[in-house]
């Protein structure tokens, strides 16, 4: 346990030192989206006004997803590089699974913080550009952010250990991009009724549950998925992705 906490402390220290960089990369996208979709497009009459409140929780979910994935992918790249810095972790007195799990926790903390910083920034922006006020239920939000962060970081661990480095450039185009478009970030799950049973295909995407979770806590007045469904979805993805990620981390690092 001391080894686990020690590694966590090291990772958070290193992340803290690059915090300006991490936060800039996490906040730029949502801020710009709010500017365009919250102000410019509604003024042009191209987007319905309700979209402003729909997109805030969605953007928050995307911020968490991207920070979580990045927060694991980047250090993992150094870990698995030619010099194998991961050896220092693997030599610490804890199991390889716990080393993998520590990566997930560190990534989850980073992504949770990014999400929680993004939300007030977005609330302020939305208020500024469109006069809309969002009133989140913070008590409900916090645990949902934590679970969403774990799902995101565990997803990042799977990407980092299963995708060969030479294909990592494709990750955004082929994996993360589609996930964001089909992740109920820009439209509530409820609105997918229009698609009939095809909508259930969307559920393979963990971002759907993250977006709905944020919707539940940030804009409860907007139609959202049943809270139990959200929790079940997040729990299943968290469990599955942690398990698969730790396994694949172990098989990549212990030869």
């Amino acid at each position: 346990m001391t080894a686990f906490l020690g590694l966590l402390r090291r990772d958070l220290l290193v992340a803290w030192r690059t915090a300006p960089f991490l936060l800039t990369s996490a906040l730029t996208q949502p801020a710009l989206v709010i500017l365009v979709f919250g102000n410019i497009l509604p003024r042009l009459g191209l987007v319905a006004d309700e979209f402003r409140t729909v997109m805030v929780p969605g953007l928050m979910a995307i911020t968490i997803l991207m920070s979580g994935v990045q927060g694991v992918l980047m250090p993992l790249a150094a870990d698995l590089s030619g010099t194998r810095e991961v050896e220092e972790r693997l030599l610490a007195p804890l199991s390889a699974r716990m080393v993998a799990f520590e990566r997930i926790v560190a990534g989850a903390i980073q992504s949770g913080i990014a999400g929680l910083v993004a939300l007030p920034v977005m609330m302020l922006l939305v208020h500024q550009v469109s006069g809309v006020d969002v009133k989140p239920d913070w008590a409900l939000l916090l645990p949902l952010v934590v679970v969403s962060g774990i799902v995101s970081a565990a997803f990042g661990l799977n990407l980092g250990t299963r995708v060969q480095p030479r294909f990592s450039g494709l990750l955004f185009a082929v994996v993360l991009g589609p996930m964001m478009l089909f992740g109920c970030a820009y439209y509530p799950w409820a609105s997918l009724d229009a698609l009939g049973s095809v909508r259930f295909v969307f559920l393979v995407n963990p971002l759907v549950f993250m977006s709905e979770a944020m919707r539940l806590a940030v804009t409860p007045e907007v139609a959202h998925m049943d809270p139990l469904g959200i929790l079940a979805g997040l729990a299943v993805f968290a469990g599955l992705l942690c398990w698969a990620g730790a396994r694949s981390f172990e098989s990549r690092t212990i030869l």
């Binding site: 020690g6 090291r10 220092e88 030599l91």
Partner: protein
């Protein structure tokens, strides 16, 4: 009790894609006593790093058993890891931390209390002459300094066993000597050390006992002196000849010559030259008789040298090839 027991260790790297499976270690056994300086000497690809990897739990053995201080490294990995430390072949210092920080964090991973961590980091920085670079990142250090930083890191948690995998490869001669002195000093203080190398002189100078490995097996094991004594004769005569009939058998039949071995390596660099290593007893007239035989075969002598056998000769005797990088 032995600090390290390796019993019938086997490791086969599974086939991956087009690459076939590799039997890197094929039944290796040795023991290292407490306080001993033990060496694994062998060429590139012999399986040294794989063996170190198995001992340090970074490589999963295919078969056999390894115990550090009586603790099985597979079944009780975390406990075994507390007792061992390794300086790997590649430089794997945490590039995001300064040297001081990475020592302190290493101590933290191993549960050292804060005061003990700081005291020990300070002492190791001083002993390994790293104070000037304590607040630099590893990338700002020379190769020799990074090597010392890895040793400092390894010593942070006060291991019972220190493993070093080819620690001086790529170092300049001065840094190499400094590292040797450092290791001797640590050994003198009672640390048990296992070192791998493909440098004969390094093994000879540092190791109290060593095993020569090739193709994943131990060819022989003993003190450097005993290994040298195991050669027939007592002296080695190196001989290069050009042209003429093959010399091996002729020379082998001479009185005072206990054995002849062709040195087959590196033929491309010396075309048309027959290179032989003779294990000889020093006797009056031996060189004369050899020279006479060479002439009689119609060959021309290119080079001849008489020497005390080195570990390299032991290696050549055992494998029929030179040990080189």
């Amino acid at each position: 009790m032995s600090t390290l027991v390796v019993e019938d260790l086997r490791k086969t790297y599974p086939a991956a894609g087009k690459a076939a499976a590799v039997e890197a270690v094929r039944g290796l056994s040795f023991e290292v006593r407490r306080g001993e300086f033990f060496g694994l000497l062998g060429p590139n690809g012999a399986g040294k790093s794989t063996t170190i990897g198995c001992i340090t739990t970074l490589v999963r053995p295919t078969g056999g058993r390894i115990a550090v201080d009586g603790i099985d490294v597979v079944a009780r990995a975390a406990e075994a890891k507390r007792r061992l430390a390794v300086v790997p072949q590649n430089r794997n210092l945490d590039r995001d931390l300064s040297i001081r920080e990475l020592l302190l964090f290493h101590g933290l991973y191993f549960g050292l209390p804060r005061a003990a961590r700081e005291e020990r980091a300070l002492r190791l920085l001083r002993e390994l002459q790293l104070q000037d670079k304590a607040d630099s990142k590893p990338a700002a250090l020379s190769g020799g300094m990074q090597q010392r930083a890895m040793i400092a890191r390894a010593l942070m948690h006060d291991p019972a066993l220190l493993l070093l995998d080819e620690p001086t490869t790529g170092l300049d001669p001065q840094a190499r000597r400094a590292l040797w002195d450092l290791l001797k000093e640590q050994h003198a203080r009672g640390l048990t050390i296992v070192l791998t190398t493909h440098y004969m002189d390094e093994a000879d100078r540092l190791c109290e006992r060593l095993a020569i490995v090739d193709h994943g097996r131990i060819l022989t094991e003993g003190t450097p002196q005993a290994l040298r004594r195991s050669l027939p004769g007592g002296r080695v005569l190196d001989l290069w000849a050009r042209g003429g009939a093959p010399l091996g058998e002729r020379l082998g039949a001479l009185a005072g010559v206990q054995g002849v071995e062709p040195v087959t390596d590196d033929e491309a660099a010396h075309p048309g030259v027959e290179r032989l290593r003779l294990f000889v007893e020093t006797q009056d007239g031996l060189l004369d008789r050899v020279l006479h035989e060479v002439r009689a075969a119609g060959a021309e002598l290119d080079h001849v040298s008489l020497a005390q056998p080195s570990l390299e000769d032991v290696y050549i005797h055992l494998t029929g090839k030179e040990l080189r990088e």
